[in-house]
């Protein structure tokens, strides 16, 4: 599969569907994450109300985003931190590089950060002779495999245990670990032992942020492994990479989100580690970083404000939408060819990368609505996907045959009597064609559909005919009563 190319979604999907290892990895996602989330939500009767409050808070902040960011900056600086406003990924890369160079950094440890993925930070740092060391186990696995993440919270979710065993043996043998480990506890321990010294050796630690608190100028990370905390505590400098919409007004407001995040993401009551960081180490602290920097990344988000996709900026990156998406579950994250995947990625990526290059992604959905149902901040993902489809059509990105097909359908759809007539002819014709077996093996213009399955032959009446008859019968029944 070719990575990071959303233009070949269809080819990637074909490869993914034929990949048995991927399918077995994805089956575990469906069996584990979906019931875990439901159980966690059921255990907290106030979940729906908290979720609604979270949605309102995000909407409030987005409408006053300039104010809250300025307050965040003021309070972060007052605590001794530095804030770097970066309009583009390039600005953010340069800001990080400059900080790294200020201490002559050779290695940086990294906690898991989607913003770092978004700005392709590892590639950039390597180019400038700085070694980035991913410390989240999932990120570590995909760094060894030289692959992008396939899930926003479980980056290596597409890998089976055996694939990780092979990968560890391949990369750890040169470190003297020549035994192929096949049991997860031993594999986890091997990675732990290899990464341990790296935390102490790194000059700079980079983490993301789940939230920024305007009131205190703090950043929050929510993790399970403890790697993010080692990453930000041991080096000389802690850099936080965060996007604009992560800011919330107060500690109490952040708390509301913390109550819905882990439950939606992993089905935990609370993640093992929720850490609030404010500025560098204090004069009488015995440990902690000497400098604290926050990179504030825009990269298209300010332009989403006030637009029809503003709702997407409420996203808290829990991953519930992808865990519940039948398309994501089937094809996995790499198929999307973008950093953000699944339903949230299919809505966010066109905003970040342009609608032309990503036109397949909003179409990779049956619009079944499960994503919106489980979204803790009620983002209307199906509606936003439909909007991108319209934009893509308007922009002329849709191939001629598809455009022609849609125009053909629209011609009838705008003339109900003609639609009715055509539909009657079609269902009767199809019934005739499928009269022997009750199904059709092949259909003109729909080979893509019938190649994989048969079309059940219609029973002979259109929906409209049946509807009219039912209404008539009901009226008669009503009159009789």
């Amino acid at each position: 599969m070719e990575f990071m190319n959303p233009g070949i979604f269809k080819e990637n999907a074909r490869t993914a569907l034929a990949d048995q290892e991927l399918r077995s990895a994805m089956a575990m996602l469906n069996a584990g994450m979906v019931p875990n989330r439901q159980a966690a939500v059921d255990r907290l009767p106030e979940f729906a109300l908290l979720s609604q409050r979270g949605r309102e808070l995000k909407d409030h902040v987005l409408g006053k985003l300039d104010f809250y960011l300025e307050r965040f900056e003021r309070n972060c600086k007052a605590a001794g931190g530095h804030v770097h406003w970066c309009a583009t990924p390039e600005d953010a890369q340069q800001a990080v590089l400059k900080i790294c160079r200020s201490v002559g950094a050779k290695t940086v440890t990294k906690g898991k950060s989607m913003i770092a993925e978004e700005i392709h930070l590892n590639e950039f740092l390597e180019k400038h002779d700085i070694e980035p060391v991913e410390t989240d186990l999932g990120e570590y696995i995909i760094q060894l495999a030289q692959e992008p993440p396939s899930h926003i919270i479980g980056p290596a979710i597409h890998k089976t245990k055996d694939q990780v065993s092979d990968l560890f043996l391949q990369h750890h043998a040169k470190l003297g670990r020549t035994e192929r480990q096949t049991e997860p506890p031993k594999m986890v321990n091997e990675a732990r032992e290899i990464l341990r010294q790296k935390y102490f050796d790194a000059d700079v630690g980079i983490t993301g942020a789940n939230y920024l608190i305007a009131e205190t100028g703090s950043s929050i990370i929510v993790t399970n492994e403890g790697n993010g905390d080692l990453t930000q505590t041991l080096p000389k400098i802690h850099i936080v990479v965060a996007s604009l919409e992560k800011v919330v007004p107060t500690l109490e407001d952040a708390t509301t989100f913390l109550r819905i995040l882990a439950r939606s993401a992993t089905g935990q009551e609370f993640s093992a580690y929720t850490t609030i960081s404010t500025g560098p180490r204090r004069p009488d602290d015995v440990d902690g970083p000497g400098e604290y920097h926050v990179i504030l990344l825009d990269n298209g988000r300010s332009a989403m404000l006030g637009s029809e996709v503003q709702d997407m900026l409420r996203c808290i990156r829990c991953g519930a939408c992808m865990n519940h998406c039948p398309v994501y579950q089937s094809v996995g994250g790499h198929t999307y060819g973008t950093v953000y995947v699944g339903p949230m990625g299919a809505v966010l990526s066109p905003a970040l990368l342009g609608v032309s290059d990503t036109r397949h992604l909003p179409c990779a959905s049956t619009l079944c609505g499960r994503c919106e149902e489980v979204c803790p901040v009620s983002i209307p993902l199906p509606r936003l996907l439909r909007q991108w489809r319209e934009r893509s059509f308007e922009a002329g990105d849709v191939p001629a045959l598809e455009r022609w097909g849609l125009s053909f359908w629209a011609f009838f759809a705008r003339r109900p009597w003609l639609y009715d007539l055509a539909a009657r002819l079609a269902v009767r014709g199809l019934r005739y064609l499928g009269r022997r077996q009750g199904r059709l093996h092949k259909l003109w213009f729909a080979g893509g559909w019938t190649d994989g399955r048969d079309l059940p032959a219609p029973e002979g009446r259109t929906f409209q005919e049946r509807w009219r008859r039912q209404q008539r019968d009901l009226q008669r029944g009503g009159a009789a009563r």
């Binding site: 109300l49 770097h84 890998k159 205190t216 399970n224 080692l230 407001d253 580690y273 609030i276």
Partner: protein, 242 residues
Amino acid sequence: MTGGKTDRGANSGRQAILGAIRQSLGRPALSAEARHELDDHIAKHRANLVPARGKGEHAAQMERFQEMARAAACTVEVVADEAAVPGAVADYLRANNLPTQVTLAPDEWLCGLDWGSQSMLETKQGAAGIEDMVSVTPAFAGVAETGTLVALSGKSHPTTLNFVPDYHVVALRASQVVGAYEEVWARLRKANKQGRGFVMPRTVNMITGPSRTADIALTLELGAHGPRSLHIVLIDDQTGQD
């Protein structure tokens, strides 16, 4: 990160982003009055919805705290008074066949306990180094709603003690157990009050069970990068309750 050039560069990014936000929102910067209103909202920092499970009697919250902490894979032992803590720590380490070299948080109360009474323990104080296997620390609070410990960084509690050693033991007093996170914030605002606001410590760690990962084939494993176990010695002193 000083020097005129950097500041100008950073400043242009700042103005561009704030300008773009205002343009998209279709309004200029907020008026002084509107800003004042939002500042007031921040200053009041009202709690949003607090779940019912985070409210109620202290005795019930003590029960819930233990139940939730155990559900998050902590072990919990209740002792009658603080004098029993060193013995409880020694017994725990011995029963689990763990190292007996212990790094204590340089906390006045914790270090004031009679560690000398435990001849098998070898104690030292300070931050954690890579070779340290067991840490014993206090905590600022325990939160019943999810069995979460809250630790504040400072000279008496180095953050590394919470993450570097393989085994973490926390001594917590019953009076430190509260129902909901918001109560911890209220206590923190009071304890660190400065002027009209308060001082946030460099790090506030909310810790719920030992380190864990499910990154290999969604199999949950404890002891990913942080502590492999988290043992809570809960001192049922029942003093200073509010």
